[in-house]
Symmetry: C2
Subunit: 289 residues, 2 copies
Amino acid sequence: MEQLHIDHITKRYGHQVVLDDLSFDLAPGKIYGLLGRNGAGKSTLLNIITSRIFPTAGTIKLGDQDGRDNDAVLGQFYLMSEANLYPKRTTVRRMFDMADESYGGFDYQNADRLLKEFGVPSTAQLSNLSTGLQTAAKLTVALSVNAAFILLDEPVLGLDANHREVFYKELIKTYQNKPRTFVLSTHLIDEIQQVVEHVFIIDDHHLVEEGDVQAMLDKAYAISGPTKDVDEYTNGLRVLAQDELGNVKTAYVYNQLDDQRILPDRVKIGHYDLQHLFIYLTNGGTNNE
Amino acid sequence: MEQLHIDHITKRYGHQVVLDDLSFDLAPGKIYGLLGRNGAGKSTLLNIITSRIFPTAGTIKLGDQDGRDNDAVLGQFYLMSEANLYPKRTTVRRMFDMADESYGGFDYQNADRLLKEFGVPSTAQLSNLSTGLQTAAKLTVALSVNAAFILLDEPVLGLDANHREVFYKELIKTYQNKPRTFVLSTHLIDEIQQVVEHVFIIDDHHLVEEGDVQAMLDKAYAISGPTKDVDEYTNGLRVLAQDELGNVKTAYVYNQLDDQRILPDRVKIGHYDLQHLFIYLTNGGTNNE
């Protein structure tokens, strides 16, 4: 299986820029997070990758094959989205058949098992289900379809905590049984920190950061102590945000720490999580240089 | 300010039981969580407290005054819900005026500050905003209205991580400035663990657990080790769930631990969080007695 290349993708509607020159690759057999604030352009990007809409500029290639109007390439991608593109009165069972007709090799056994886990009747019509159960039915299809790249736009919309837990466990289980690429676009960043290997962060229509989650978290330090000492310690480092209360400060640094840095006994060094890293990166950081 | 008594509330629609004999009290000046799976009856309960719908049986009393048809009592309650009950073309600014007309003493200064934080224009029509910004506008009203009991049904619906962080911070800030009672009904239990003092858990239309969060978490132990030792250690304890891999087991206990319990060196004792406690309590537990 080959790499998917997203190459200089730009999307404009009139004068409005939705995506501005995004480039990155997706490797086969990896679980990715696609993170961005509301309106950042994540859904547009997922729709472009799957040729539901076309970019103003740029290309999507699988290996060296252009995805546009290429059924062999498009047959590798499955997009689960909030939009309900099924005809009225489509039953859950019919959704399975449609995925089988389009992609072949639909895993009915896995799908039936998942429906039971989620408590969704296979005879129900999709549009008669609650938001949470509609999501559960769509996830059941997405985790059982035979595609190499599975893109999930808001995969936990309306799910309660129990159903979210089922989804994360089943995602990992299906991935271990048959490694393929998943892209999760979600606002619940805390919950996917343990699930995704690599994230892309879009802000203000640009790709502002990408990397392996562990490597990113290794640079996410919370430095706290007396303001004077924290300022001295963080001098020259990239500080994304800071909290101050009286003359005690915490600075949220995104930087490798130099072993020779002074004062380690007057400041406390901890870590912060992926969700906060995302918030600080996309709120606009300050640079304490 | 007096206690709010929810007293033997039952709600049936025909043969369908939505709430079955719920009783609990809400104290003035406290932040509560109302937790339950999709369809558990949380929204129905909030609508009953605020007299938007009437119970089949039971009463809502503030001190010794019945809430039903009592404007002096109802004027103490504000409900923010997913439903959009505003007339078409209502602007955000008009929402403020309506809250002021109904409750008096609306905090316009706080509301204007919050709109800026959320990036919502005050001249926008509510129905033209995205789901996330509609929620932000409604939260702005809820955090600025002059009521003693403020009930928030799905307060973070559609909000991205940055806006959720703003909401939690502003909730605590407004509560510290002017303590009043908040009830948060949400599926993002991890995120409110630090915010709420006391939770109510509804399952299968009953109140199955309530308590101060810290006291509940103090009883939430994860016991892991060789299966035989874990089974011996947890004998007689309330075990809500267990994971087993090979002959290593983790048992999720919800119980005080006896100091004299044997084998502490062969099992490892940790804690688990509120979201998992909720999941285990509402998935139906097993009792290892």
